[in-house]
C-alpha cells in the first residue's frame, strides 16, 4: 500500500489541486457578484427609500406652537389671556422610579397633595411620550432652586411657556369655557378633520364654550422649524423655519361690567340670565349660576375638585342658560296674546269676566287662576298686566295647540337660537303630532288649557327666552344671538336679520304697553320697578317644579328648597326704543316678581344708567387661579 502511494503522480496531484483551486475561485467569484448585486440593490434600486430614512434620521421637525388668541369683552376688558410662566414637567417614560423622583423634586419645589393627585390622574390618561406637569406656575425662587439641581433629574424639564388664564374665573366660566389637555378622542377627531399636523406641538384644545366654538380661530397656525440633529438628538443646525401664525383675538359682544353686576345680582340664587341687544342680537350678559373656576381645568383638574363640582346638588357644571330647559310659566302670555291677535281669535277689546277659574265645555273640572276669586273683567291689556290665567286658558283652548305651535314656532320657541356655543338644546314646543310621536297619545283638551299659561309640555332655555323677548322688543325682527362681535383681521359680515315676523304695529304696541304697565302700579312687577327712571316692559313668570329633577339625589335638607317654584322674568328697556332685552331665571326662587325681577332691575340700572348696585369685589386672579 505504501508503495502504491509513493508512486503518486506529481502531475496528477497538481492537476487535482488546480481543480480545487478553480472551484475556490468560482466560489469566490460568485459570492463577490452576490455582494455587488446587494450593493447595487441598496444603492441604486432602493436608494430613494434609504435616502428618506437617512433624511428622517437627521432632520427633526419641531413644531412652533402659535400663541392662542386673546379674548376681550366689547370694551377691551381681557377675559382670557396668556401669560408666561414656568412648569415642571415629567416624561414618565424616561424615569425608572417615578415616586422617588417626585419625592426628590418635592424637596426643592413645593408639591401639594393636590398637584400630586392631578399628576396621578393625568398619568392614567396620558398619551405615550407626553410630558406631564407635576407643578405649574413656579415662583422665581422655585425656578432658580430647581435649575441649580437640574442635572440630578433627567427626564424632568423646566418649561417656560404661555399659560391660559381666565381672570374672571367663575363669572365667565359658562360662556368662555376653558381649554384643557388634548385627549385621545379629540386627537382622533383632529386626525379625521386632517388638522392633526397643525396640532403637532399643541397640548391644549378648547373644551367648552367660546374656547371650543372658536377653537380653529383661536388656535392659530403652527409654525415649523427643521433642524438637523445628531444621533443623540442634539440640534446641530437650523435648516428652515416657517414662523407660526398667532391665533386671532376675539372681541366679544359681552359687557364685562354688566356680566359682573348680573352675577352678583343673583346673590346665592342658582339660575341663569341672558341679556341681548335687540337691535343686533349681541349678547351683553350671559350668566349661569353657579359657575366654576375654569382655571382648574387647564392642566387637568384633580379628583377632589372634580368630584366636588360634579356631585354638588347645585350642579355648577350645568350651563343653565344654554342647556337648562324650564317651563316658561306666565312669561309665555305676551306671546300667547300675540298669537291670539294673529289668528284674530281675540280682539284687543274683547274681555272676559274672570270668576277665578276656567272650565272646559262639558266638563266640571276647574282650572284655577293664581288669584282666588279672579280679576273681574279682563281684556287683553289687563290679562298681561295682572297675568290673568283664566283669560289664557280660554284663549289657548280656542286657538288649539297646533296653531299655538305654528305661531310660537315662528318666534323661535322650540328651536335652537343658533348662538355661537356648542351644546345648545332646543326647548320644547308641543303639538298634537309631537305628542303622538313622542308619547303615542292623542292630545287632550286639558293639555291645551295648561299650555296657555306655559305650564304644559312647553320648555324653554333662558337663552331662548331672552332671544324671543329681544325679538318682541325689536317689533318682530329677530337677530341671531351671538357672543363674538369681532374676529381679529376678519371683516365682519353684514348684519342680517334672522327673520321678520311682520307683526302689525298696533298688536306690538298693545303688548308693549301692557308689558310696561306690568312695572307700574297694578302690575305684577311694580315692587322692583316703581322707582325706575326709564320705562321698562316686562313680564313675570313662575314655573312649577313638579317633581325632583331626574339625576338628582334625594337630599332631605334641601328637598323643600329644590322643590320650590322657579322664578322667571323677562324685560326690555327703554320700552320705547329698547337697547337691552333680557330673561332671568332664578331656580327655586318662588315668584318671578320677588326674586327674578330685582335681579333684572340691577342689570338694567347698570346698563342704562351706569349704576353699580354695590361696591364690587375685585376679581383677584391670584386668589381664584390656584383654585384652593
Amino acid at each position: 500500500m505504501i508503495q502504491k502511494v509513493e508512486l503518486k503522480n506529481n502531475q496528477r496531484e497538481i492537476h487535482s489541486f488546480r481543480q480545487r483551486l478553480f472551484i475556490g475561485l468560482g466560489f469566490s467569484g460568485l459570492l463577490m457578484l452576490l455582494l455587488l448585486a446587494r450593493v447595487f440593490y441598496l444603492q441604486v434600486l432602493q436608494h430613494e427609500h434609504f435616502d428618506t430614512l437617512a433624511e428622517s434620521n437627521r432632520i427633526y421637525v419641531v413644531p412652533i406652537v402659535p400663541n392662542r388668541g386673546v379674548i376681550t369683552d366689547r370694551n377691551g376688558v381681557v377675559l382670557a389671556r396668556n401669560y408666561a410662566g414656568y412648569t415642571l414637567e415629567i416624561m414618565p417614560d424616561n424615569i425608572p422610579n417615578l415616586d422617588q423622583t417626585i419625592t426628590e423634586i418635592g424637596k426643592l419645589v413645593e408639591i401639594k397633595p393636590k398637584d400630586l393627585r392631578r399628576f396621578r390622574k393625568l398619568l392614567a390618561e396620558r398619551r405615550s411620550l407626553q410630558t406631564l406637569p407635576i407643578r405649574t406656575r413656579l415662583t422665581d425662587e422655585e425656578v432658580a432652586q430647581f435649575a441649580a439641581q437640574r442635572y440630578r433629574f433627567p427626564g424632568v424639564e423646566l418649561k417656560a411657556r404661555l399659560f391660559r388664564e381666565y381672570p374672571y374665573a367663575e363669572m365667565t366660566s359658562h360662556l368662555l369655557g376653558y381649554i384643557g389637555r388634548i385627549n385621545q378622542q379629540e386627537l382622533d377627531g383632529l386626525e379625521r378633520e386632517e388638522l392633526a399636523a397643525n396640532y403637532m406641538g399643541s397640548e391644549y384644545i378648547g373644551k367648552t364654550g367660546i374656547e371650543q366654538y372658536y377653537e380653529k380661530v383661536l388656535h392659530g397656525v403652527t409654525g415649523f422649524e427643521q433642524i438637523e440633529v445628531d444621533a443623540g438628538g442634539r440640534a446641530v443646525r437650523q435648516l428652515a423655519r416657517t414662523p407660526p401664525e398667532s391665533g386671532k383675538n376675539l372681541t366679544l359682544t359681552l359687557d364685562a361690567g354688566l356680566q359682573e353686576v348680573a352675577v352678583q345680582a343673583f346673590g346665592d340664587f342658582r339660575g341663569a340670565l341672558v341679556a341681548i341687544d335687540p337691535t343686533n342680537g349681541e349678547v351683553l350678559a350671559y350668566v349661569s349660576k353657579p359657575g366654576y373656576d375654569p382655571n382648574l381645568f387647564i392642566d387637568g383638574i384633580d379628583t377632589e375638585s372634580w368630584d366636588a363640582l360634579n356631585n354638588s346638588p347645585d350642579v355648577p357644571l350645568n350651563n343653565r342658560a344654554l342647556r337648562g330647559q324650564y317651563p316658561m310659566g306666565s312669561t309665555i302670555k305676551p306671546f300667547m296674546a300675540l298669537t291670539g291677535l294673529h289668528f284674530e281669535a281675540r280682539s284687543p277689546d274683547f274681555s272676559i269676566s274672570d270668576p277665578g277659574y276656567y272650565t272646559l265645555p262639558g266638563s266640571s273640572h276647574q282650572y284655577r287662576d293664581w288669584k282666588a276669586g279672579g280679576h273681574g273683567r279682563v281684556d287683553m291689556f289687563k290679562s298681561v298686566v295682572v297675568s290673568c290665567d283664566t283669560y289664557y286658558y280660554g284663549l289657548a283652548t280656542e286657538l288649539g295647540i297646533d296653531r299655538i305651535h305654528d305661531y310660537l314656532g315662528q318666534f323661535g320657541f322650540g328651536q335652537r337660537t343658533g348662538i355661537d356655543l356648542e351644546g345648545e338644546v332646543p326647548g320644547l314646543l308641543p303639538s298634537t303630532a309631537w305628542k303622538m310621536q313622542r308619547h303615542k297619545q292623542i292630545w287632550y283638551p286639558g293639555d291645551t288649557v295648561s299650555a296657555g299659561i306655559g305650564q304644559g309640555y312647553q320648555l324653554a332655555t333662558p337663552l331662548q327666552m331672552a332671544h324671543v323677548t329681544a325679538t318682541l322688543a325689536n317689533d318682530g325682527v329677530a337677530y341671531r344671538p351671538h357672543l363674538v362681535r369681532d374676529v381679529q383681521h376678519d371683516t365682519p359680515s353684514a348684519l342680517q336679520p334672522l327673520f321678520d315676523l311682520k307683526i302689525p304695529a298696533q298688536h306690538i304696541d298693545l303688548i308693549k304697553r301692557a308689558m310696561v304697565a306690568v312695572t307700574h302700579p297694578g302690575g305684577t312687577a311694580v315692587g322692583s320697578f316703581y322707582s325706575a327712571t326709564y320705562p321698562v316692559a316686562a313680564k313675570t313668570g313662575t314655573a312649577q317644579v313638579i317633581a325632583i329633577k331626574q339625576g338628582e339625589k334625594y337630599d332631605e335638607k334641601k328637598v323643600s328648597e329644590y322643590n320650590r317654584d322657579h322664578a322667571w322674568f323677562i324685560a326690555f328697556a327703554p320700552a320705547g326704543q329698547p337697547r337691552i332685552a333680557l330673561a332671568v331665571l332664578a331656580e327655586n326662587g318662588g315668584h318671578g316678581s320677588s326674586t327674578a325681577a330685582p335681579i333684572a332691575r340691577k342689570v338694567l340700572d347698570y346698563y342704562l344708567l351706569g349704576k353699580r348696585p354695590q361696591p364690587l369685589k375685585k376679581a383677584a386672579v391670584s386668589d381664584t387661579a390656584e383654585g384652593d
Binding site: L21, L35, V39, L42, F50
Partner: protein
C-alpha cells in the same frame, strides 16, 4: 553593496503587483478613517503607525525562506494553543467576552495569532505526510483545526472562529478532502443546526434573528444593521461626497471606524466608489490566486490558497454584514477597518504570500 544594490535587496522579495493592491486599499482606509473619525488626524496617524508596523512584519516574513516558515509552524501552533488555554483560564473579560491575556508586558489576543498559525500548522502537517496521505491525515488535520476553533468559540468570539475555521477548511479542501466527506459535513451541519443554535450565546442568536427582521428591534439589536443599510443605501449612485455623509457625521452609524467602515465609504462615494473598492479586493484576491496557482510545493500551494480564500471570506463576511445579508459578527473590513492587530495578521499573511512567490521565483531562475 552600493545604494542601488541595497534598494534591489530591499524590494527583492516584495511582489509589486500585490503590494500596489494593498497600498490602494490602505489608502482607502486612511481616507475613510479621516472621514469616519470626523477629521480626527490622530486616528489616521495611529493607523499610519499600524501600517508601518504591518509593513515591517510583511517585509520580514517575505524575506524569510520558506523552510524557516515551515519550522515555525509547530512552535507557533503550540504557543497559540497554550495561550488560548491560558485565556480560557485567566483571560481578562471585556464586553462580556474573555479574549485577552495579560502577559505582564502587554495584553495580547492569542486568537489573532491563530489566524496564521492554524493554516500554517495544517499545511506543514500535510506537507510532512504528503507522500503517505490517507483519510487519517485529514482527520488529524481536522482535529488540529477544531481544537483552537472550539476554544475561540467559547471566548466567545464568533467572528474570529469563523475566519479560522474557514482558513483551516480551505487547507483541507485544497489538500483534496474527499467530496463525500465535504457533503457529509454539510449534511451533518444542517442536521446539527438546532443543536448549534442551542450552543450559541444569546447575543449571537439575537444577531442571527435580527438578520431576518432588523426592524423588529430598531433601537436595540437591529440598530447596527439598520443604520448600516441606511448609510449604504442613502449613498446612492455617486455618494454624498467626501466628508458629507450624514449617517457618518451625525453619529447615526455605530462602529464606523471599525466594523462598519464599509458603510462610511459607501455613503460618501456611492455605488461607483463601491465598484472601485470591490475591484481592489478582486485585484488583491486575483493576485493571490495567481500566486497560489504558481506555487511549487505542496506546502506553499496549501498555504497560499488558504490565505487568499480566507482574505476573500474576511471581505465577504464584513460587507455581507454591513449590507444586511449576514448577521452582525465582529469581523472588520480587511485592510480598511481601523485596528493594529487585524492589520498585522493580514500583513503577515501577505508576507507569506510574497515569500512563497519570490522565493520560488529565485529557485526557478
Amino acid at each position: 553593496m552600493n545604494l542601488r544594490q541595497l534598494k534591489q535587496r530591499f524590494v527583492l522579495h516584495l511582489d509589486p503587483i500585490l503590494l500596489s493592491g494593498l497600498g490602494a486599499l490602505l489608502l482607502v482606509s486612511l481616507l475613510t478613517l479621516y472621514s469616519a473619525s470626523d477629521g480626527n488626524g490622530a486616528r489616521v496617524l495611529a493607523q499610519l503607525g499600524n501600517i508601518a508596523v504591518g509593513f515591517v512584519a510583511l517585509w520580514i516574513i517575505a524575506n524569510m525562506p520558506l523552510h524557516w516558515l515551515m519550522r515555525l509552524a509547530l512552535p507557533m501552533y503550540v504557543l497559540g494553543m497554550v495561550l488560548l488555554i491560558g485565556v480560557a483560564l485567566f483571560g481578562d473579560i471585556s464586553h462580556g467576552a474573555r479574549r485577552w491575556l495579560n502577559i505582564g508586558v502587554a495584553n495580547i489576543q492569542p486568537s489573532e495569532l491563530m489566524k496564521i498559525a492554524v493554516p500554517l500548522m495544517m499545511a506543514w502537517y500535510f506537507e510532512k505526510h504528503e507522500a503517505t496521505l490517507t483519510w487519517r491525515n485529514h482527520l488529524i488535520a481536522a482535529l488540529l483545526l477544531v481544537m483552537p476553533v472550539a476554544l475561540i468559540l467559547r471566548q466567545p468570539d464568533l467572528g474570529t472562529s469563523i475566519l479560522i475555521a474557514a482558513s483551516g477548511f480551505f487547507v483541507l479542501f485544497l489538500a483534496g478532502l474527499s467530496w463525500r466527506v465535504i457533503i457529509g459535513l454539510l449534511v451533518t451541519a444542517a442536521a446539527s443546526a438546532p443543536f448549534l443554535w442551542h450552543a450559541l450565546h444569546d447575543y449571537q442568536r439575537q444577531r442571527i434573528l435580527m438578520l431576518f427582521d432588523p426592524s423588529q428591534d430598531a433601537l436595540g439589536k437591529g440598530y447596527h444593521t439598520i443604520q448600516g443599510m441606511i448609510a449604504v443605501g442613502s449613498g446612492g449612485l455617486l455618494g454624498k461626497g467626501y466628508l458629507a455623509g450624514t449617517q457618518t457625521h451625525l453619529d447615526f452609524l455605530p462602529e464606523r471606524t471599525t466594523d462598519f467602515i464599509f458603510a462610511v465609504w459607501s455613503e460618501e462615494f456611492g455605488f461607483i466608489g463601491n465598484l472601485l473598492l470591490l475591484g481592489l479586493y478582486v485585484f488583491v484576491i486575483g493576485r493571490g490566486f495567481v500566486i497560489t496557482a504558481n506555487a511549487s510545493t505542496y506546502f506553499t500551494r496549501l498555504m497560499a490558497g488558504s490565505i487568499t480564500l480566507t482574505f476573500f471570506i474576511y471581505t465577504f463576511v464584513n460587507i455581507g454584514m454591513v449590507t444586511g445579508i449576514l448577521p452582525v459578527v465582529g469581523v472588520p473590513l480587511p485592510l480598511v477597518s481601523y485596528g493594529g492587530t487585524s492589520l498585522l495578521t493580514l500583513m503577515l499573511g501577505f508576507g507569506v504570500l510574497m515569500s512563497i512567490h519570490t522565493h520560488q521565483r529565485l529557485v526557478k531562475t
